[in-house]
């Protein structure tokens, strides 16, 4: 029996409980009881809740406990007696045996795992059965309890609404949980990384050449400055040189010059640019833009141009960001009070003079905030740089050379079957934490600027 089947069964039982409880409550009204507090369907919901919620909660808890119980059962068996005493090696074999019991065609590294796999399959099946039985018992018990409480004066609606409120609160708490999860997982792994590499070397070292080698408890080759430079070079310099003029001018043209018809058609077309998946941009950059730029560079006499140039990735990323800059600029220009524009036009300034000398200066804080948001978007962008920028950690300002970025290296460090405790895996989390902090700061600053600017005109 699979867990999906168990869930469906419980849902079915809940439905049955709902129907019966509702019918029972309906009879009160038919029999003309003096004061029925809640509508019959609320009694139904109340009973169904008692039938389903405890059982599901139990299953959730059980599914996190059962694997550990399974491991205990396997370790108790005589076959497990000759496992290595080292907890790490033992855990590796156990987890491999578990994977093997789930997926028989897996490649095995430890032969001991092959013997343990059937034990695991056995134990997992046994605990699954126990869990399912207990869940069904809970389901019946809950349903029966609720059923006995159905009376004409029972306040089922109040009870149901209290539970709904709880569900609403829990749903909003998930956002906090997710944020905590991100911060905790990043910080936890980063601290482990900093036990191998000093934070100073990581943040200011110039040599990025990661390896799994650990000498005297220290790993070398984790100086991340070339990555930071590559990220800034592609995401904050080249991409913005493309995106700011194009995005800003598009916004100006569409809001100030274009007729309503043109605006109606061009705005969605620009929005499509933002909706194209980044993997498509990456493929486009690698397939079309990068070779063309390389040929161009060779033509103008730069012989060492790389086919994975920073320029290709930056250009395409800039195009991706255009609609983002454009819509932020659009919003901030629209927020400038009409009286300022009218005043300037009344003084005899032409439209372009009004835009250049009144509207854009007035909208500047909003535009700057939008650009900062765009930068945070660009430096966190992954697929374009993974596919079009290189892996060589160069510290160069030559746009035709290959540079690498933080996100590229995270992908590079985590793909491939490396051990979870190796310095390379941990380094990916340290890079992730750096990226998280920087984008967070950029966002906070940008939103603050935009907010203060809005207040200035309100």
């Amino acid at each position: 029996m699979t867990s999906t089947a168990i869930l469906f069964l419980i849902a079915g039982l809940g439905l049955i409980t709902w129907v019966f409880a509702r019918a029972r409550a309906g009879r009160f009204i038919q029999s003309g009881a003096a004061s029925v507090h809640s509508l019959p369907s609320y009694h139904g919901w109340y009973a169904a809740m008692w039938a389903v919620v405890p059982a599901i909660l139990f299953l959730l808890v059980w599914s996190s406990v059962a694997p550990a119980l399974g491991s205990f059962a396997v370790l108790e068996s005589p076959l497990a007696a000759d496992l290595p005493a080292d907890p790490f090696a033992r855990a590796a074999i156990l987890s491999e045996a578990r994977e093997l019991s789930r997926n028989a065609d897996l490649k095995v590294f430890n032969d001991a795992a092959v013997q343990l796999a059937p034990l695991y399959a056995d134990a997992d099946r046994r605990y699954m059965l126990i869990g399912a039985l207990a869940a069904f018992l809970l389901c019946f018990a809950g349903g029966a309890y609720a059923f006995t409480r159905i009376r004409p004066d029972f306040r089922a609606r109040t009870q149901v609404e209290r539970t709904v409120m709880l569900a609403l609160l829990l749903a909003s708490l998930i956002a906090i949980l997710a944020t905590l999860g991100i911060v905790a997982s990043l910080i936890f792994e980063t601290i482990r990384f900093f036990q191998l590499v000093s934070p100073f070397e990581f943040l200011f070292g110039l040599n990025w050449n990661p390896s799994d080698k650990v000498v005297d408890g220290q790993a070398t080759g984790f100086g991340a400055v070339p990555l930071f430079w590559g990220t800034v070079f592609i995401g904050a310099i080249i991409a913005m040189i493309v995106a700011i003029p194009l995005g800003l001018m598009s916004a100006v043209y569409l809001t100030q010059y274009a007729s309503a018809n043109v605006r109606k058609w061009m705005k969605p077309i620009l929005e499509i640019l933002a909706g194209v998946p980044t993997v498509v941009y990456g493929y486009f950059a690698a397939l079309t833009v990068a070779p063309a730029l390389r040929n161009f560079a060779v033509m103008i006499g730069i012989s060492d141009a790389s086919s994975e140039s920073a320029l290709a990735a930056g250009l395409v990323m800039g195009v991706m960001i255009i609609p983002f800059v454009s819509s932020m600029a659009d919003d901030s220009i629209a927020a400038v009070p009409g009286s300022m524009r009218d005043g300037s036009l009344a003084m005899g300034a032409t439209k372009s003079e009004t835009i250049k000398q009144v509207l854009i200066p007035a909208a500047l804080p909003g535009v700057v905030g939008g650009v900062l948001l765009a930068v945070s978007r660009a430096i966190g962008e992954t697929m374009i740089v993974v596919m079009a920028a290189g892996l060589a950690a160069n510290l160069t300002a030559n746009p035709f050379a290959s540079v690498t970025t933080v996100t590229t290296q995270i992908v590079q460090l985590l793909t491939g079957d490396t051990d979870f405790n190796s310095p390379m895996t941990l380094a990916a989390f340290a890079l992730g934490l750096t990226l998280f902090i920087v984008t967070l700061l950029l966002n906070i600053v940008a939103l603050q600027i935009v907010k203060r600017y809005r207040e200035a005109y309100d």
Binding site: S95, R98, R102, M165, L168, A171, S172, L173, I174, A175, I176, A178, T179, S185, L186, F188, L246, M249, S250, Y253, L254, Y257, I269, L270, I272, L273, G275, V276, P277, T278, V279, V280, Y281, G282, Y283, F284, A286, L287, T288, T350, K351, S352, E353, I355, K356, I379, G380, T382, M383, V386, M387, T407, V411, L414, A428, F429, G432, F436, T439, L447
Partner: protein
């Protein structure tokens, strides 16, 4: 009423010291002309920016369609097989009813195929056909068992080299082979159904996207079922019930923050929490769905809040006035009116999740599977990751397949966005 300044009927001439501007003079006319020229230049620059941006989009689509259109076409060559001679004698009765499948299973299609290829195309004739061509032969026999009784001509997929020779350029040998086939009239190009129904493989002529598309669909189901209820409920809570206190502020900050976190960070979260801590299976659609759900939820919350906010207070007050409880007000009156806006936001969020690659790479959803996944825990890959994997292949034959897969992905995304826009225009009420 402010004090009105009464103007004399005829304005006095400017004080004698002030210079009178000669608007019609040459210098002023020149200056005005240059200002108008600047105006025209500026307007042209704006137009150029818009045109350039849309040209880039057009160019991108043009390149993808130009490369990818060929991916939907395949090349086939004929193979004449004398079935009775190869199988001994299979009688017509053996092909009726329940005995059919046993009969077909008893035929060694692989050997028959090898022999037929050698007979028709010479000793190394197998270079003409795809390595999986014999399975295509078996499929045709299963579909049309009468062919087993006689000598028949089968159209079978050619090898990747010949396929590319037919479409553009290939190795000289393959070009020569193709010319030979064409002269004999034994080759044709047809629609590549296998591309839409097959799965990943090593031979670019034989790969398909159904495996990864199904992986995407399963992942999206998980994402939708988690992100939609949680997102809408959270939005209802924050917009309708939350008290102004520290907890509410914390929730708001978290949601806005999650909406701005780079997607790759969600991949790291999935790796550390779901794979490491909860020991969930690697490469499984359920982990991908969970990760994407965390990413999509803030989008849904923000869209739902805006939709709920747009419902006018009079609705709430009217409902409250006839005795609805606070929960009934929201669930019976406010939410139904906000549903179009919520749906639009959800579809846009789901479209973004469908095109997302980086977080899924982190949690290992790059499984090489030649069969589509059948459940939430099977090793799977998704369409964008498949595109990424194919783009990395050295074999030139994958270029058209990658572009074709991109076309399919873009069609899905554009359809979703179009539906979202339609829903918004059709059902949104302006109060």
């Amino acid at each position: 009423m402010t004090e009105t300044v009464s103007m004399p009927a005829n304005l006095p001439a400017p004080a004698s010291g002030a210079r009178k501007t000669d608007w019609m003079g040459q210098t002023m006319q020149k200056r005005i002309a240059s200002r108008y020229a600047a105006e025209r230049r500026f307007k042209f620059m704006g137009l150029a920016a818009v045109v350039l941006s849309s040209l880039f989009l057009a160019f991108l689509l043009f390149v993808m369609v130009g490369n990818g259109a060929k991916g939907f076409i395949t090349t086939e060559a004929t193979l004449t097989v004398d079935m009775p001679a190869a199988t001994g004698s299979i009688s017509a009765e053996q092909l009726t009813g329940p005995r059919l499948s046993a009969t077909i299973a008893s035929i060694d299609v692989r050997r028959i195929y090898d022999n037929a290829v050698q007979a028709q195309y010479g000793k190394d004739g197998s270079r003409f056909f795809a390595s999986t061509a014999w399975t295509a032969l078996r499929a045709q026999l299963t579909e049309n068992p009468d062919l087993i009784l006689g000598k028949a001509k089968f159209w079978l997929p050619t090898s990747s080299d010949i396929d590319r020779a037919a479409k553009d350029t290939s190795t000289p040998e393959a070009e020569a082979d193709y010319a030979q086939l064409r002269q004999a009239g034994e080759v044709r190009q047809t629609l590549n159904w296998n591309f839409l129904t097959g799965s990943d493989g090593t031979d670019p002529a034989q790969v398909g996207i159904w495996g990864s598309l199904k992986g995407s669909l399963i992942t999206m189901v998980v994402t939708l079922f988690l992100a939609f209820p949680v997102g809408v409920l959270a939005a209802v809570y924050l917009e309708e019930y939350a008290a102004k206190n520290r907890l509410t502020d914390l929730i708001e900050v978290s949601i806005n923050n999650l909406a701005a976190v780079p997607s790759i960070i969600f991949g790291l979260l999935g790796l550390a929490v779901f794979l490491q801590f909860f020991a969930m299976p690697r490469s499984a659609a359920i982990v991908g769905g969970l990760t994407l759900a965390l990413m999509t939820m803030p989008v849904i919350v923000i869209a739902s809040r805006n939709a709920i906010k747009a419902v006018p207070p009079s609705i709430r007050e009217a409902a409250m006035g006839v005795g609805a409880s606070p929960i009934q007000v929201v669930f019976h009156h406010v939410l139904p009116l906000a549903i179009p806006g919520i749906m639009t936001g959800t579809i846009i969020g789901m479209a973004r999740a469908l095109g997302e690659t980086a977080p899924l790479l982190m949690i290992g959803m790059r499984a090489f599977t030649t069969t589509p996944p059948d459940g939430f825990t099977d090793p799977a890959t998704v369409l964008p990751v498949q595109i990424f994997l194919w783009s990395d292949e050295v074999n030139r034959g994958f270029v058209e397949k990658t572009s074709a897969a991109i076309i399919v992905l873009l069609v899905f995304l554009l359809t979703m966005n179009a539906v979202a826009v339609y829903l918004r225009n059709r059902f949104e009420t302006r109060w």
